[in-house]
């Protein structure tokens, strides 16, 4: 691996260039919006004023991370056409939004919600439910952040053929992210998301074109796969089909209900912006996860016989090979390189901001210091957020083997807040005790199943937890006798 295009000085120069570009955007945002550290709404939601273009890219950056490239191409490489599900599940996330976003948007403007827990508190008027939901979200977000941190290291060290070590990449980019997030809050996150999203899209398109030119097109790759591993081309067996369905449901509900995705609903300038950006989102899977899927399939022929661990470096190997062809592809891969790193950071920054907002509003100002002004709440959120990042950095110092396994873990828990939204927004009878017990039971069941490695019938453990959670919510709400007054109060507030 001596002749890599991005090894040596060029890799380091590119990395610094992207880092400083992001910092520059952070500083400009800070400069132009000096008052944003005074108010939760300004800092965490960009004043609730994101217009359609910026809103779309920040949704995009939230759903598509660097893992969508660095992790999904190897998955397609290993699983073959089975991984076409990555196109469908990203589309279905928009369907997931339809289950709750329209009504939640209206409520968020009426009651000035900042965090998802603000809605839960307003709807259920129960400290227990709100606290449990906040803790679940914090835990899920930390896992999410951990995954992104590991992806930064893998991405950069893979693309530079190890010139930039895993740890150096992680420390540099996490510092950049913390600084611009600290300076400009949601506004700098959303503006960098826009820059990052564009770099990612351009990079993916050119990577696919380059792979088709230099590694032989799709037909020859499929031909090759048919001789060496025909199982990657055939219709999956019943076990595969069940896991396919289970993945679709898990992502449809899980990714739409991400706390940082919910906050973007609150940050929309108008219903029209929200509708437009969501409808654009319904088309993005074809050019992102779809293209990445094709790159992975082409990789089967380009780099045959890679082990699971080696295949994780697939995108880096392909990009390096392309960059050595001519100067056009060299610069195109520079953009891709930046796009991948940017995509990881743009997901991580949204997660960090939401993490801080939950600490500021749902933990600190609700349970620790009720008299703190908003400026102090924001400061505490930022400091604790950074402390979390440092802890996660230590955990991520030695990277785990593959990305896919930890990706599935965060959904298992985050998805347990879904009944509070999907049922709670529409069903007046849904009782706080039922939600609390359902959420708790679902979480415990899902966690136990994950640790024991149980997936009965091939259905993801998070879905078993969610099913029990929903069932308990419904049955218990019928059993618990709610005073009529209370039902009416809840009804008035949610509809």
């Amino acid at each position: 691996m001596n002749n890599l295009a991005f090894s040596g000085a060029s890799g380091i120069i590119i990395m610094f260039f992207y880092g400083f570009l992001m910092l520059f955007i952070g500083f400009i945002t800070y400069w132009r919006n000096k008052g944003l550290h005074q108010s939760n709404k300004e800092f965490y939601l960009g004043g609730g004023n994101l217009s359609v273009f910026v809103l779309f890219f920040t949704f995009f950056a939230t759903q598509y991370s660097g893992n969508t490239i660095v992790g999904y191409a190897p998955t397609a490489y290993r699983m073959g056409f089975f991984w076409m599900q990555s196109i469908t599940f990203f589309i279905l996330i928009v369907m997931g939004y339809l289950l709750f976003a329209p009504r939640l948007y209206v409520l968020s403007k009426k009651f000035q919600f900042i965090t998802p827990s603000d809605y839960i508190q307003k709807r259920f008027q129960s400290k227990g439910v709100t606290l449990l939901a906040s803790i679940l979200m914090l835990y899920g977000l930390c896992n999410f952040m951990l995954e992104q941190i590991i992806a930064i290291g893998h991405g950069v060290s893979g693309l530079t053929g190890g010139t930039i070590p895993y740890q150096a990449a992680v420390v540099f980019f996490v510092s950049v992210m913390v600084i611009y997030g600290w300076l400009g809050g949601m506004r700098s996150v959303a503006y960098t998301d826009t820059m990052q999203g564009i770099a990612l899209l351009v990079g993916v398109v050119i990577l696919l074109i380059g792979s088709m030119i230099y590694f032989g097109g799709l037909p020859s790759a499929v031909d090759y796969a048919a001789t060496v591993s025909p199982e990657k081309l055939g219709v999956p067996d019943s076990k595969g089909l069940v896991s396919w369905f289970s993945m679709l449901i898990l992502v449809t509900i899980g990714a739409a209900i991400y706390p940082h995705a919910i906050q973007r609903i609150f940050a929309a300038k108008s219903e029209k912006s929200l509708k437009k950006s969501l409808s654009w989102m319904a088309w993005m899977p074809f050019v992102t996860s779809g293209f990445v899927f094709l790159v992975g399939i082409i990789g089967i022929q380009a780099f045959p016989g890679l082990s699971k661990g080696e295949s994780e470096q697939l995108v880096g190997m392909m990009a390096n090979h392309l960059a050595m062809q001519n100067s056009f592809f060299y610069w195109a891969m520079v953009i891709l390189f930046g796009g991948i790193v940017a995509a990881i950071i743009s997901t991580a920054d949204s997660v960090l901001l939401t993490l801080s907002s939950i600490i500021s509003k749902d933990i600190y100002s609700t349970h620790i210091n009720k008299n703190a002004d908003e400026q102090k709440q924001i400061l505490v959120g930022k400091i604790v957020g950074v402390a979390f990042v440092v802890i996660l950095l230590l955990i991520a110092w030695y990277p785990p083997a593959t990305l896919y396994r930890i990706f599935i873990l965060k959904f298992e828990l985050l998805i347990q807040i879904a009944p509070a939204f999907i049922l709670g927004l529409y069903w007046r009878r849904l009782h706080r005790h039922a939600v609390l017990i359902g959420m708790l039971a679902g979480t415990i069941l899902a966690s136990v199943m994950v640790f024991a490695g149980l997936q009965p019938l091939g259905i993801a453990s998070g879905l078993w937890g969610l099913a029990v959670n929903f069932a308990l919510c419904i049955v218990m709400s019928f059993v618990i006798n709610v005073p009529k007054q209370e039902v009416e109060l809840l009804g008035k507030e949610v509809s």
């Binding site: 196109i87 469908t88 055939g234 679709l248």
Partner: protein
């Protein structure tokens, strides 16, 4: 003022979406079959891609025509794309 429309209350939307959802996984095709169709891509992958396209079309339609909840002044939104 436009009448309020909420997708969750529209049963037809969900019937269409659920049918497409069920069709988006190739359970109805023979296991392990993979005859290449166009560009060497197996026939069933084209079917799944087609269903996925249909879901995107339906979702775009719903967002455009079946959702109107907030009574907002939308006259200033023309200048949004900045």
């Amino acid at each position: 003022m436009q009448q309020k429309k909420e997708p969750i209350k529209n049963l037809k939307i969900w019937i269409v979406l659920i049918i497409l959802f069920i069709l988006s996984v190739p359970w109805y095709l023979p296991t392990r079959s993979y005859e290449p169709l166009i560009l060497g891509v197996p026939y069933w992958a084209w079917i799944i891609l087609g269903v996925s396209l249909a879901i995107s079309i339906v979702l775009t339609y719903i967002l455009k025509n079946c959702l109107h909840m907030a009574d907002e002044d939308e006259s200033w939104e023309e200048e949004e794309n900045q």
